[in-house]
Symmetry: C2
Subunit: 283 residues, 2 copies
């Protein structure tokens, strides 16, 4: 496993491999690797000759009041984790080499970026779209692997790749959950024991919605209301949003139909958690 | 010479050539080709195995009151022109294949895009940056050729390429002028005979500035004022801006020093014309 910090060096090495027709699988991360990342890395290993993992806590996707400083950075653990999975290259850049002097170019995916998490986190998805484009240009992967847990991010990146003709295939991998149903997230480590119990309400609310839909419910409002009732039984959980949307446009669906996405975001203490369910009902 | 209209087809053909280590030179244009484009194409032919010219009047870089509809489209003349120069591929896409359903991704080069022509043409450089990125992703050229006449566009694209790690070299070619000094531009064909004579005042004002600097003038304001006096002698020319700027940041220079750029934009009748001079004074 080779650890590379300079963008130009990464680009040159991968370009040579690419000319030798080696396929490149890419897993962009902010580190604090967990079972979710593991599933991305293993899928990348299966499908490509070379696997590149980037570890970069991207300052441009954090708001001024967000957790950039406190975001977990367990680097040696992350590296051991990747070594075990036989990752070929770790890209571990410094912020100053990613955002040089007079940096001023940003990618905005309009509409999709200003709803849901984008409302609570203005500029967040602009930062995500910009860094992901930069990483794609440096790594030029054949396939990039993203988690379905960050649903809005995934939908925005897919839109961007299509709109800008970026030559990469995006592969989405299912959310990995703990045995009790909690979606695995780097931010779970902010939760204390009782908050972690409170957090189970997210997957429970999604399971309730799934069951209702299975039993024939189609009216989004009544499904969302039942989810809200369930969550509100727990006084320490504040709902930020619960919505049922079209998976491509993120437009609200009045009735559950086609490719739909149930998304929710809550705050527990100072921690913001998201979860979702991707479903499909034939029209 | 092969004419290709489908983006995916262009991408596939060029990808194969690229894997055979053929170098690709790219000249992005809006058609209405003239001697300025010719110098770009000839330079591209000199330095690359394959030359690609795109012809696409990009709707996203025209404002609602601008000349999108009337912009010249002498297609058969353009194709003959390229054939004569032994261009290998013409990319001639349809707008609907470039901007598909739900298109929503834009590239903004902040700061650089909102000054000078960006003030008079809000959204213009966002449209330029977006289409150029798309074209670079489709063509993946080794070198892209741009004219120095569109100085702000050139500086914005260079900034964007650096900021987004786009793997292309930008080569800037000098402005081509008619014998009388008029910078060649596709929009010159909007001018009638007397307007074309009026338009000579642009290069004359730049020549005056060059002479003043050669003779030791360094104070930007007094140089600009002398240029304005000269232009104002011609009542049918309205000045939009005249500025002396740093060539990288486009920040105004109080004193002419280092890599400087003298830019001017005027209106003659309904036609907007720009011209500029790139200079260098050792610090």
């Amino acid at each position: 496993m080779q650890i590379i910090s300079k963008p130009e060096k990464l680009f040159k090495i991968l370009k040579i491999l690419k000319l030798k027709s080696k396929t490149i699988g890419f897993v962009p991360t902010m580190g604090a690797l967990h079972e979710g990342h593991l599933s991305l890395i293993r899928q990348a290993k299966k499908e490509n000759k070379i696997v590149v993992v980037s570890i970069f806590v991207n300052p441009k996707q954090f708001g001024p009041k967000e957790d950039l400083k406190s975001y977990p950075r367990p680097l040696s653990k992350d590296l051991a984790f990747c070594r075990k999975e036989k990752v070929d290259f770790i890209f571990l850049p410094k912020a100053k080499d990613i955002y040089g002097k007079n940096f001023s170019t940003y990618i905005q995916v309009e509409g999709l970026s200003s709803v849901l998490c984008g409302k609570a986190r203005p500029g967040h998805f602009r930062g995500v779209a910009t860094i992901v484009t930069k990483l794609f240009n440096l790594v030029h992967p054949d396939i990039a692997y993203l988690g379905m847990k960050d649903a809005q991010q995934l939908i925005i990146i897919k839109r961007m790749v299509k709109d800008l003709n970026i030559p990469v295939k995006i592969k989405a991998m299912p959310t990995v959950r703990e045995a009790d149903g909690l979606a695995i997230s780097s931010r779970n480590m902010y939760l204390n024991k009782s908050e972690k119990l409170d957090a189970l309400v997210l997957s429970r609310a999604l399971n309730l919605a799934k069951l209702m839909i299975k039993n024939g419910a189609r009216d989004s409002l009544s499904i969302v209301n039942r989810m809200k009732e369930l969550i509100k039984q727990n006084k320490s959980v504040r709902i930020e949003y619960i919505e049922i949307l079209d998976t491509e446009t993120l437009r609200p669906l009045n009735r559950v139909i086609g490719n739909y996405l149930i998304v929710l975001a809550v705050r527990i203490g100072t921690t913001r958690l998201i979860d979702n369910f991707w479903g499909k009902l034939s029209r």
